[in-house]
């Protein structure tokens, strides 16, 4: 493992205006002297919730510590004071309980936003997400729809061990009847959460704890209260012609970083921010692969039956003739997440892993097995 060379990227490097830099998690400092407004993902989520609650009196928030405590991660800060305890409900500690109650209230026309402190705890309520929410519209032949949103941090944070670090994208992404969204930037967070709340179907909204404190530039359009992103459309964060890199959530940032490194080696990478795991934007992915002919998928979750597996299958089905190299999957290690910092670092994709995988797909390095 060679040491990390953290590049200090200047402003002009031929990229689109929405270049991001990875900053320390805790700060949300301004970096640009331009007039572009910046917003943390946390504020983006908070403002989206606030605006949707103001617009529709049926929307309400429920979860542990969402009210008085202002939210375990402060996403629901200020909402209790503004909307009162009937619309910001602190619950006893029972995921199964409040998930079921949320679904029940949705049966009767309310629009709950259920917060899981982390999606690892959603497993205690997964029956309600799948069997009560996802399948109800179908089983009741359209009589009972469930306009519910389950949201919360997903995937690893930092040093929280096996039971707080799993990515549930693949688990929920495999269930028909659910929509699964994975925002990355503040624009994603705002637009997708608003879309999720307005959607008549149950939505699983997978956030990332380490992204909460990150700032991203947001345009005036994004800040408007009617702003909404379409569900099921991926975003091309960086255009390129040599290789396609798909990623979601925090890995988008890593992929962009990797793309900058690859640029130095003359490899022009296209980075796709999936934004939505279900429905998966197969069209965008396939169009990109048909252009670049090479694909690297990146995710933090376990490799078997993961998002990368699904994307690879889709590309093989639809664009086999266009592939010039086998698809590379970069995923988390196939182990429950260890706690020790050095081990944890080895258990999740790092920027270098993405760079090496891309080089392999471009036949620029000695071919090796997928594990690096």
């Amino acid at each position: 493992m060679w040491g990390i060379v953290r590049q200090n990227v200047g402003g002009a490097s031929g990229l689109s205006s929405q270049v991001m830099r990875l900053r320390p998690v805790a700060s949300a400092m301004r970096n640009y002297s331009s007039a572009t407004k910046e917003m943390t993902v946390r504020d983006a989520l908070n403002s989206a919730l606030d605006e949707e609650m103001a617009a529709d009196p049926n929307v309400f928030v429920m979860g542990e510590e969402v009210g008085e405590y202002q939210g375990a991660y402060k996403i629901t800060k200020g909402l209790l004071d503004k909307y009162g305890p009937e619309r910001v409900v602190d619950t006893p500690i029972t995921e199964a309980g409040f998930a079921g109650i949320g679904v029940g209230s949705a049966y009767h026309g309310l629009r709950p936003v259920i917060e899981f402190m982390t999606f690892n705890f959603s497993m205690q309520a997964i029956d309600h997400v799948i069997n009560s929410a996802a399948k109800s519209n179908y089983m009741s032949a359209g009589q009972i729809n469930v306009p519910i949103v389950f949201r919360g941090p997903n995937g690893p944070a930092a040093g929280v061990g096996a039971q707080h670090s799993q990515c549930y994208g693949a688990w929920y992404g495999s269930v028909p009847g659910l929509k699964v969204l994975v925002p990355y930037s503040s624009e994603d967070a705002r637009g997708l959460l608003k879309a999720a709340i307005r959607d008549p179907d149950p939505v699983v909204f997978l956030e990332n704890e380490l992204l909460y404190g990150e700032s991203f530039p947001v345009s005036a359009e994004v800040l408007d209260s009617s702003f909404c992103l379409p569900i099921g459309k991926a975003k091309i964060e960086r255009e390129g012609k040599d290789i396609t890199i798909t990623a979601f959530s925090k890995m988008v940032g890593y992929a962009l970083k990797a793309a900058e490194i690859l640029e130095k080696d003359g490899i022009n990478a296209e980075v796709i921010n999936l934004r939505s795991i279900r429905p998966l934007d197969r069209a965008t992915i396939n169009a990109s692969v048909r252009k670049t002919n090479r694909l690297v998928t990146v995710e933090e979750g376990f490799p078997q039956h993961g998002i990368g597996a699904e994307i690879c299958a889709s590309v093989v089905e639809d664009s086999f003739g266009y592939l010039d190299a086998p698809v590379e999957r970069v995923a988390g290690a196939d182990v429950p997440t260890p706690y020790a910092a050095n081990l944890e670092r080895m258990a999740f994709p790092q920027i270098e892993d993405i760079v090496r995988a891309a080089k392999r797909a471009c036949y620029r390095a000695v071919p090796m097995a997928a594990t690096a």
């Binding site: 049966y107 069997n131 009741s140 032949a141 359209g142 009589q143 009972i144 197969r282």
Partner: protein
């Protein structure tokens, strides 16, 4: 020698009316008592026998560390080492009026931990897991349909009672024929409600049509009461195109939005937190209706049951929880399911008003559900009803219960204890019903049920497009593609597909 004059003896009332002695004495005396505890057994023993069940308070405490008194050695007398307690008591003592001792005494017996004041006790009494006498069961009619008490207040009128009886007979007949249809291979699955007809119909009669019902699976009678036709039941079971369910769910998983009966869901107890959620929604709407959730005895072992009851109590949700305690969960008897005194005590454990009722007594059920519903709506709080009954049915068509219980036992509950027979005796005695009407009803119902089954069987199966609709609110593009692909494949290879799929 101890100078008892140094002690002030007061008498004060302990909780419960027993008097006990309070002895306030100086440090000197305490020290003496301490030192003599282990040495002179006889002297201290006699003194302690005088002290008996007294409370010794150290006066003028400045150091509490000097004496550590073994409780056992005092044979009931207690001593306060704590400065605070002692001072508190002493300051109360100064103003004490001996005759008014008890109020002061009660004040001092209170502990202030989070969650509310409790009084303490020096007696280490464990609350028993169950009391010798079980919670009593409310009943109006005896086994022969005679009213037990002459005071029959708030009972069903003639019209209502006959409607309930009719419903019970219809349910029973429908069950018999549909069960047979499954045995003949015409249905894949069925589940009967034999022995529980009273719970089905009498509770339904006590509710309003605006009350939302979340049932488990042995409550189709509630749907029947509200107007779901025999034909509709049959259509759902046969999974044909006419069924409201578009062939999506297995038999007996009925549902009707119009009749406020939520589609049955297979995993047990999931309907309970859902019920609380719906009640919360009703509460926000301030509607004059409540939510009613049905479940069996076995279901109370599920986590969702506990979460739901706890939540309902905390949220003051207008839910009526009705448990059909029929003694069996497939082959698991209630004695193997839980060790508590049934389900009624579990309601109390969560802070919910609860009642146990004879589930085979239609009149009793009607009264209880009526009252519970009123309380839930007017007082905006949950109520739990445990209806005692017996599952005459096999669990379902996939079960043969003679494998784990005797035929005689089943027969006994099917005949002697039958809720239908009990009600019939009552209404006949009242002159509201006769053999002739019985005969007519039975004949009519059999015909209707047979007809419904035959019609449902002949009906077309659901359309191919209904494979893909309702997954989401709007048909997504990938499903549209799949449907197109499927149709093309069927066209190209018709031999690979069955003939009876309407395209």
């Amino acid at each position: 020698m101890i100078n008892i004059s140094l002690c002030r003896l007061t008498r004060t009332r302990r909780g419960g009316g027993n008097f006990m002695k309070k002895i306030i004495c100086s440090n000197q005396v305490i020290n003496w008592l301490c030192s003599h505890q282990t040495t002179s057994q006889t002297t201290s023993a006699s003194l302690f026998s005088i002290l008996g069940d007294s409370m010794i308070i150290r006066k003028g405490i400045r150091d509490s560390s000097s004496c550590r008194l073994a409780y056992a050695g005092f044979m009931g007398a207690r001593c306060y080492n704590s400065m605070q307690t002692g001072e508190q008591i002493l300051s109360e003592e100064e103003e004490e009026d001996d005759n008014n001792g008890d109020s002061d005494f009660e004040k001092t017996k209170v502990m202030d931990y989070p969650g509310g004041k409790t009084t303490y006790t020096i007696e280490m009494n464990f609350i028993p897991g169950s009391f010798e006498e079980r919670v009593k069961c409310y009943r109006v009619l005896d086994e022969d349909g005679y009213p037990i008490s002459s005071n029959m207040l708030e009972h069903m009128s003639e019209e209502l009672a006959l409607k309930v009886y009719s419903g019970m007979v219809t349910l029973n007949t429908m069950d018999k024929f549909f069960y047979e249809a499954q045995r003949q291979g015409r249905l894949s699955f069925y589940l009967t409600s034999f022995g529980e007809e009273a719970i089905n119909l009498a509770s339904a009669a006590a509710l309003s049509f605006d009350d939302i019902v979340l049932a488990q699976y042995r409550e189709p009678g509630v749907l029947l009461w509200r107007g779901f036709t025999l034909q509709e039941f049959a259509n759902q079971c046969f999974g044909n195109n006419m069924g409201h369910g578009k062939g999506r769910q297995m038999p007996i998983h009925y549902g009707s939005k119009n009749l406020n009966y939520i589609t049955i869901s297979s995993p047990l107890a999931t309907q309970l937190p859902q019920a609380v959620g719906m009640a919360y929604s009703l509460k926000m709407d301030k509607k004059d209706s409540c939510v009613v959730a049905f479940f069996g005895d076995g279901t109370t072992s599920e986590g969702d049951f506990h979460a739901a009851l706890n939540f309902a109590a905390v949220m003051d949700a207008p839910v009526v929880f009705i448990c059909r305690n029929n003694g069996w969960a497939i082959s698991t008897q209630v004695t193997e399911q839980f060790r508590s005194d049934g389900i009624v005590v579990k309601g109390q454990a969560y802070g919910i008003t609860s009642i146990r009722v004879d589930g085979n007594d239609a009149f009793a059920l009607y009264n209880v559900v009526r009252r519970a519903r009123e309380a839930a709506i007017n007082e905006q709080r949950p109520i739990l009803i445990e209806a005692m009954t017996y599952r005459v049915s096999h669990h379902s068509t996939s079960d043969d219960s003679t494998k784990y219980r005797s035929k005689d036992e089943i027969e006994h509950w099917n005949t002697v204890q039958s809720p239908i027979t009990r009600l019939r005796k009552c209404i006949e005695r009242k002159g509201w019903w006769s053999d002739k009407e019985e005969f007519t009803l039975r004949l009519k119902t059999k015909k209707q049920v047979r007809n419904a089954i035959d019609e449902a069987e002949k009906e077309e199966k659901p359309l191919l497009r209904d494979l893909f609709t309702d997954v989401y609110n709007e048909l997504p593009s990938n499903l549209m593609e799949q449907e197109t692909l499927l149709r093309e494949t069927i066209q190209r290879h018709p031999k690979d597909f069955p003939r009876d799929i309407p395209l």
